[in-house]
């Protein structure tokens, strides 16, 4: 969530899940919440049907949430920035922005306003396909009802312009003074259960825990002393995509993979698999023999969440206790024990008695976690920042001031997706998730009932397109892009607009990421998994 961190100084949900229910207007963009974050969707629906909130959904697909929405902005895939700039344009030209808030708490407003001025609703309609009346109405609704909450997900970040998309949303929230207020804010819903925690813990190439930068000598010194080593590497490391590139080029020789499945989850999968094949030595720690583990030189059996202790941090920054319910199968061990044993063998003894002991070390080095103890987590968890033992945790970020001092507006020009449909590849291919499976199905694919409902890969096609192509529901077609092709069954549904198709990426039988683009967002370096150009061929 690089965009959010740059604008506001923190990349997490600014507000809490509980507050969603009490927002007066909810702007949901790039999130099929019902299927991807079902329990958050309940709060959105409560807000609408129990408390009369207005819901605006911006999504290229007609998601289930649209049934609850006052407005559905069905913009073309990859045109988010244009759409948001259009909303900002209306807000500024109709004087609906919050001037005292902008003056007091933000910077960079003028530059942003200048760019936004070039996005009148007429132009935005041409780019996005959303009628200008709807853009105006959405802008007025969002800007006049308070508090207003923005909720977004990977539909926003998994683009070549993902960071831009987030900057734009931050502009929208700040211009209306919705950051730092109860039930308002800018709220990314994170995909995996401990994405937030993995980021907080410094499983990132440029920062240590709590986003302390590796290129800051004083911080490095602090960690080196605590860890009793002479020095720590000072240059930011490589991201996953860059590591795979380095492997292809031959400069990366070995990968140690804990609980990830890049052989199925990476964009431009052929490339990722080639990269893995080039490595001299791969270690995989996992609970199943995943597609990636099958390529490894050593596979280490890990305990799953139910077989160990520790903490997870959810999308609203809540650190919560994970408790052990049963013994791991066979000789499997918790990941932390495996790392500790290996480290000890390599001459750096790690002798932790339990997960809590590791946590005690974490809080000493991690300012936002400093006041948290396992004991304090026993009753429902604590939201960071929690700087000391008496601090109750933080429900709403940026309340009096932004984490970075002043909130920064960013002037963002619309770039468009890396690939747009042409005569050869006339469709937008979007990828995403369905309710019934999760990520690469490592876990959910073991569940009979889920497979019964959604065990087969499919591609959603609009009825009109299906008729034009002469294909019927359930028919197998060939979907191709510039990177690859696969055979997949068609599901005809008005959920996708004419000219767009959608396929979930869960399935190893039809790995959709063989098709997607690895054009990287320039700052967050997230590949553009969400949109690319594709063709459908009847067999």
């Amino acid at each position: 969530m690089a965009g959010l961190a740059t604008s506001l100084g923190s990349g997490a949900m600014t507000n809490s899940i509980d507050e969603i229910e009490f927002a007066k207007v909810l702007f949901v963009i790039g999130s099929n919440t019902t299927e991807c974050h079902p329990v958050v969707a309940l709060k959105i629906k409560d807000a609408v049907s129990k408390h009369g909130a207005k819901l605006i959904v911006a999504d290229p697909r007609k998601t289930e949430l649209c049934d609850f929405a006052t407005l559905h902005l069905q913009h073309k895939p990859g045109t988010d920035v244009a759409l948001i700039n259009g909303l900002l344009n209306v807000i500024l030209s109709e004087n609906l922005h919050n001037k005292p808030y902008i003056d007091e708490r933000t910077e960079g407003f003028e530059e942003m306003a200048k760019v936004v001025a070039n996005y009148p609703p007429e132009r935005v309609e041409k780019i996005t396909g959303v009628p200008k009346e709807k853009i105006v109405e959405a802008a007025r609704t969002y800007a006049t009802l308070k508090p207003a909450s923005i909720i977004y997900c990977m539909g926003i970040t998994q683009h070549r312009t993902g960071t831009d998309n987030v900057f734009s949303l931050a502009n929208l929230a700040m211009v209306t003074g919705n950051i730092g207020v109860e039930s308002g804010g800018l709220n990314p819903l994170r995909g995996q259960n401990n994405v937030q925690g993995a980021c907080d813990m410094g499983a990132l190439p440029n920062v240590l825990t709590a986003y302390q930068r590796v290129d800051d000598p004083a911080l490095r010194e602090k960690f080196a002393r605590a860890w009793q080593v002479n020095s720590l590497p000072d240059r930011p490391g490589l991201t996953i995509s860059e590591m795979l590139n380095a492997a292809t080029k031959g400069s990366l020789k070995s990968l140690f993979i804990m609980g990830e499945n890049p052989a199925l989850s990476e964009a431009n999968l052929n490339h990722a698999r080639e990269a893995l094949k080039k490595l001299e030595f791969i270690v995989v720690q996992d609970i199943f023999l995943t597609e990636t583990a099958q390529m490894a030189d050593v596979v280490l059996p890990a305990a799953c969440f139910a077989e160990k202790e520790g903490t997870f941090t959810n999308t609203e920054r809540r650190v919560q206790l994970v408790r052990k319910a049963l013994e791991p199968p066979g000789e499997a061990l918790p990941d932390w024990q495996i790392i500790a044993k290996l480290s000890t063998l390599l001459g750096y003894p790690m002798r932790y008695k339990n997960a809590e002991q590791i946590f005690k070390e974490i809080v000493k080095l991690t300012p936002s976690y400093a006041g948290i103890t396992y004991k304090r987590l026993e009753n429902g968890g604590i939201q960071w920042p929690c700087p000391d033992k008496n601090h109750p945790g933080t429900k709403i970020l940026h309340k009096e001031r932004f984490a970075r001092g002043k909130g920064r507006f960013h002037p963002i020009e619309y770039l468009g997706p890396a690939e747009t449909p042409d005569s050869e590849y006339p469709f937008y291919l979007m990828t995403g998730r369905v309710l019934w499976q999760f990520h690469t199905s490592t876990m959910s694919g073991q569940v009979d009932g889920l497979n019964q409902i959604a065990g087969e890969p499919f591609v959603q096609v609009n009825p009109q397109d299906a008729a034009d192509l002469g294909i019927s529901d359930g028919e197998t077609v060939r979907v191709s892009t510039r990177r690859g092709e696969l055979l997949i069954k068609v599901k005809i549904t008005p959920m996708v607009d004419k000219g767009s198709i959608f396929a979930p990426f869960h399935y190893s039988k039809a790995p959709v990421n063989l098709l997607t683009s690895d054009a990287l967002d320039s700052i967050a370096k997230i590949p553009g998994l969400k949109v690319c150009a594709a063709s459908i061929t009847k067999l």
Partner: protein, 353 residues
Amino acid sequence: MSKVKMKIDEKVIETESGKTVLQAATQAGIEIPHLCYHPRLPGTGACRLCVVEVKGARALAASCVLPVSENLEVYTNTERVRKARRLVLDLLLSNHPLDCLTCEMAGRCDLQRYAYELGIKETSFKGEKTNFGVREREPFFLRDYDKCILCGRCVSACAEVRHRYVIDFSHRGFATRITTPYDLPLLEGGCEFCGECVQVCPVGALVEKGRIQKGRNWETKRTQTICPYCGVGCTLELHTYKNRIVNVTAPEGVGVNRGSLCVKGRFGIAEFVNSPKRLKKPLVRKNGKLVETSWKNALKMVAARLKEIKERYGAQSIGFFSSAKCTNEENYLLQKFARAVIGTNNIEHCARL
């Protein structure tokens, strides 16, 4: 909300306006038996088990829909109230299979519990029983509507909590039952298999299939933990028996989810954790094939190879993929290992995705 003073069983109670007598009593630690009422659902007054005597009123009142008011005096356990309750239970039992021997709800069934408390062994009404049959073909849970007591909790849970409206009362009189529209399979009726209805069912009418014959309610151990799927971080309870997960529920009112889950959290955990395909021993590649080995061997090999590669190509030739599925402690430890032991910042997890 203003303060309200009232009396329940002669005890003076302070509560707030807008509450029902049942809620006020519960708050004050006075238990009123109830079946259709559930703390997360709007009261309907349907089952009439929660009746109380109101001073100055002729008829008994259902406490789940009776609002508190200043100086209200109610009695929850008079002879009249007990008689009314007996009658309600007696009638319910007259059309309920008494197969507690094998019923999965035994030990946690509200009907069983109240019958026990009032000492009702069998019904005094002899008559016809419904014969709807069990719907057990569908995924995740079965519906045995002969055990259904028509409390309507599942209907409200689906409508009020999930906004799905998949199930409702149908038919009339003795034939009344809960069904999907046209009795379609759940999936076709729009069910998302969230299991909210199963969790609130007070009897054995809605039962998770995975738990059948896998331990009685009093034999299973419950452990509160966090869902391993999406970033919402729902609190859930793993029910284990003989080192296997036999069921998953969400503790009422706890965590961000307050008792709700989605299909993955409720029905998508046990099978992957218990799966026979779980890795049980370390594997190393020998002649192109992955073969089982001991921990000692596997770790020795990893240590030797990492050391060798680092010496030959430098620390930057090694990379680490950490995991958004692992705990904070594990992510911390892996980045510490990468940085302090190997000496590289080449570490990321797939968070950006």
